[in-house]
Structures are given as structure tokens and as C-alpha cells.
Amino acid sequence: MTTSTIHDIGYRHYDGRRNGRAYVLRSLYVHNVRAAFGLGRPARAKVMPFLLAAIMLLPAAGSVAVVAVTDQADALMRYSSYATVLQVIIAIFLATQAPVLASRELRFHVVPLYFSRPVGHLDFVLAKVAAMTTALFALIAVPVTVLYVGGLVTKVPDSTAQLGRYLAALVGCALFAVVLASIGMVVAAFTPRRGFGVAAVIAVFMLSSTFVLIIQGIAEARTNFTLSGWVGLFAPFNLVDIVQVRLLGAEKSAVQVPPGVGGGVVALALCAAIVLGSIAVLYRRFRKAGLS
């Protein structure tokens, strides 16, 4: 029979300051926001996000320029329609950058390295979704702000109403950002292979919007505007536009929206379900990946 002993071989404990959960969350968030724009990475990673951000700014700048030259206030694009008009660019931005945030760690199997540190599974996911949301919000809200400031500078009449519409549009932008980011991150987290994530995210957006547009076209041709409005719930951009129209008092930018405040409430509930559901799915996904 042998007796076992435990030797003290002199490992030292960490007894410095613990920065806590908020610090972890903030660090992950900042890192991910920077990653969403390719900051801190080679120039190759910066080209696409900034190119797309520049494309996003072009119509706003053009619109302001037209107002300044022709002095016709109605040439200014509506703030709430900006995201819908430029949905293709936003979708491409999301498609290229969501895999950067959601699939890179999965692809290289480094998620366990995060979770071997005091990083909570939920914090990890929340930081990623929040970072993608921030990036998208910046992408959409900056051109809208350019429109608003351009409107102020060129003295577009009715400035109080403009301010109200601008603030409502900012709320709309935030909702666009969080819904789109949630969908994009989930799709990207399940397609870690390079290139596949991009294609999968864009496919979700293009197929849903084409599908909805075709159904809406048929329904409108048969003057069935109710069906045409409700089917809009199935395309992300149309979904958020319903909330903008019915709850934030914007004019509609999508083909059709469901009637009454009820339609807006249903759409908002669906947005909330998408966001919460996505966080739950991402939580499970990264938790599982963290075990390997």
C-alpha cells in the first residue's frame, strides 16, 4: 500500500483586482465592434465594410446635394425609408460581417479558449449580438443623420416635424439593426465554412424578400390588400417597416403593411421573438462548441 501526498510545488495564486463581469462584457463588445469593421486587422479586412459604408452614404449625400441645388424640399429622401431602399447593401454588409463575428471562432475551434476564462456563455453571445447591432445601427443611422443635418443646413421647412420624424427613424434604425443582426448571427453561426456563411445569410434575405414580393404582387393584382400586408411579416425588412408605419407613424416604404395598430403590435412581437429566439439559439450553439 502506498500513501499519496500532495506537494506544494509553489504555484502562486492570483490575488490582484478582479475586474468582474461588466469588464468582460465590455471588452468582448469592443473587440467585436472593431472586428465588424475590420479595425485592428489587415487592410484586406477593412476594404469591404468601409466600401459598403461609403455606398450607404452616397444616396444620402446625393439627396442633400439635390435639395441644396434645386431648393425643392421634397427631393430629400424620407428618413424611415432609407433602410428599405438600401436593403441590398445592408444585407450584403450583414452577410460579409456576420460570419466574421459568429463563425470565425467556431471554424478554428477556439471557443473553448474563451470559456476556460471567466467568461459567461450568455455574456459571450450578448456581446456578439450587441456588437453586430451597433455596427448595423452605425451603418444605417449615419446616412439618416446626414440627411437630417443636410435638411437643417439647406433650411428644409417644418423643422419640428422633421425632428420628430428623424427621432422616430432612429428608433426604426435601432429596430432594423437588432432584428437583422439576430437573424444574420444565427445563420452565420451554423455555417462556419468560409464563404458559406456569407452566401447563407444573403440567401435568407434574398429568398424571403423575393418570396414575399411575388406573393404581394399576386395579392395586389387580386386587390387582396390584407393578405398582401400580412405576408410582409415574412421578410425582415418588411417586418420592421410594419412597426415603423403602424407604431412610429412613418409612411410605408414596403409594398404593403397590415392594417391598424394591431398589425404593428404583431410585427413588434415577432421582432422580439426573433431577437430572443436568436439569442437562445446562439447561446446553445456556443455552449456546445465550448465543450469540445
Binding site: R44, V88, G195, F196, I202, L207, F211
Partner: protein, 238 residues
């Protein structure tokens, strides 16, 4: 053609759950067609609209993009392409094999579903189903060649491809007629137009020009990819 490379590429493209993604896209088209058929919404205008907007303008570019960049892009990115390039296989054989795999995938996941969807919607009326099938096939070949070349040329191939397919062909096509004529989608549509008597299908490009351009683009893409693969700078993975 090299059978081993083809098998490896097929396995990379269809392995695990990737086949499901490729399958999900055409499934949406088929479900839509069946629903329209069941609800009796399948007159010739709607059918042409569905096949053109969903099949030719959305499904085809997306699938060609996934297949075209997917057959070679990831391998170049993570450096695995070196294991193929260091074998005594001519580079053009590698490119041709990859391109053939991409075309087979597009045929399986885009051309066949479009044919099925066309038959569900219209049967054999006005020869629309076969016309769209041929159009999607020739468009698919051209798209695949372009996207394979793009994947060899650039690491941002998927994004550039998306910008071309969605912004150039769709958005700018609506505003600038010039951009509309310079798109694979319109050339494929011209082939469809020539093959079907259905009046809702209209293209802006004449058939001989379209065929010449399709052939030229396919050949140029293949040659460019083969040429660039001869001196490929392989950096380490990001």
C-alpha cells in the same frame, strides 16, 4: 478532368450539413410553385414572373455564387490548395475540374428545380418550362465560370460576386439600361425569350449577341482562372 479532385471537391461541397443548405434554396421555389398551383394562381404571367424573378434572378446567381466560389475559394484561403498544386497535374485541368463540379452542382440544385417548378406551374404550355431550363443552364455555366475566376483572383470573391449579382444586375439594371444589357441574367433571359412563345418573357439583348457574350464570358473566366492559378500567391490563413 481529374476524378480524384472532383470527388474531393464534391465531398467538400456536400459533406455534413452543407447539402441541406444547397437543398433549402430550391425547395423554397418548389414550395412556392406548388402553393401557387394549388391556389390556382398559375396563369402565364405569374408563372413567367416566378420563374424569372425567383428562378433566374435570385436562385441561379445565389447557387452559382455558392458553388462557383465554394469549389475553390476555401481551399485557397486555408492553404490546402497547395496539396493539389504540388501534384503533377496541369493547372488548367484543376480549374476545369473545379468548374465542372460547380456546373454539376448548379445543374442539380438550380436547373432541375427550375424545370420541376416550370412543369408544376405551366405543364408544357408555350414551352416555358424547357425554355427556362435551358436559359438557367447556360446562365449557370457562365456564372460559374465568372465566380470560379473571381474566387481565384480575390479573397473577397463572395462579396464582390454579391455586389455584381445584386447591385449591378438588379439595382442598377432598373435605373441604367446600359448596365442591364451587360449582365449574364439578361443574356440568359434572351435565350429563354428565343425558346418560348410566352409573351411576358422579354429581354433587352438580341439572341446572337447574348450567345456570343455568354460564350465569351465563360471562356474568359475559365482562361483567367487557369492563368492566375499558375502563379498563385498563397498566404497563410487569416
Amino acid at each position: 478532368m481529374n476524378a480524384t479532385i472532383a470527388v474531393i471537391t464534391f465531398r467538400a461541397m456536400l459533406g455534413r450539413r452543407r447539402a441541406l443548405l444547397l437543398l433549402a434554396l430550391p425547395l423554397v421555389l418548389l414550395v412556392l410553385s406548388v402553393v401557387l398551383r394549388v391556389t390556382d394562381n398559375n396563369d402565364i404571367d405569374i408563372s413567367a414572373d416566378v420563374l424569372q424573378r425567383f428562378g433566374l434572378a435570385t436562385l441561379l446567381p445565389l447557387l452559382a455564387l455558392i458553388a462557383g466560389t465554394g469549389v475553390i475559394g476555401p481551399e485557397i484561403d486555408d492553404g490546402q490548395i497547395m496539396y493539389v498544386l504540388t501534384k503533377p497535374i496541369p493547372r488548367q485541368v484543376i480549374v476545369l475540374t473545379k468548374l465542372a463540379v460547380a456546373i454539376v452542382l448548379v445543374a442539380a440544385f438550380a436547373v432541375v428545380p427550375v424545370l420541376m417548378s416550370g412543369i408544376v406551374l405551366q405543364g408544357t404550355t408555350a414551352g416555358m418550362a424547357p425554355a427556362f431550363t435551358v436559359g438557367v443552364l447556360v446562365g449557370g455555366v457562365a456564372y460559374s465560370a465568372v465566380f470560379v475566376a473571381l474566387a481565384v483572383l480575390s479573397r473577397n470573391a463572395v462579396t464582390i460576386g454579391l455586389l455584381y449579382a445584386l447591385v449591378w444586375e438588379t439595382l442598377l439594371g432598373n435605373f441604367a439600361p446600359g448596365a442591364k444589357s451587360a449582365s449574364i441574367q439578361q443574356w440568359a433571359l434572351s435565350v429563354v425569350d428565343a425558346l418560348t412563345s410566352a409573351s411576358p418573357v422579354k429581354s433587352t439583348v438580341d439572341l446572337p449577341v447574348a450567345i456570343a457574350l455568354l460564350v465569351a464570358v465563360t471562356a474568359a473566366g475559365t482562361l483567367l482562372a487557369a492563368y492566375r492559378l499558375r502563379s498563385l500567391p498563397v498566404a497563410s490563413a487569416e
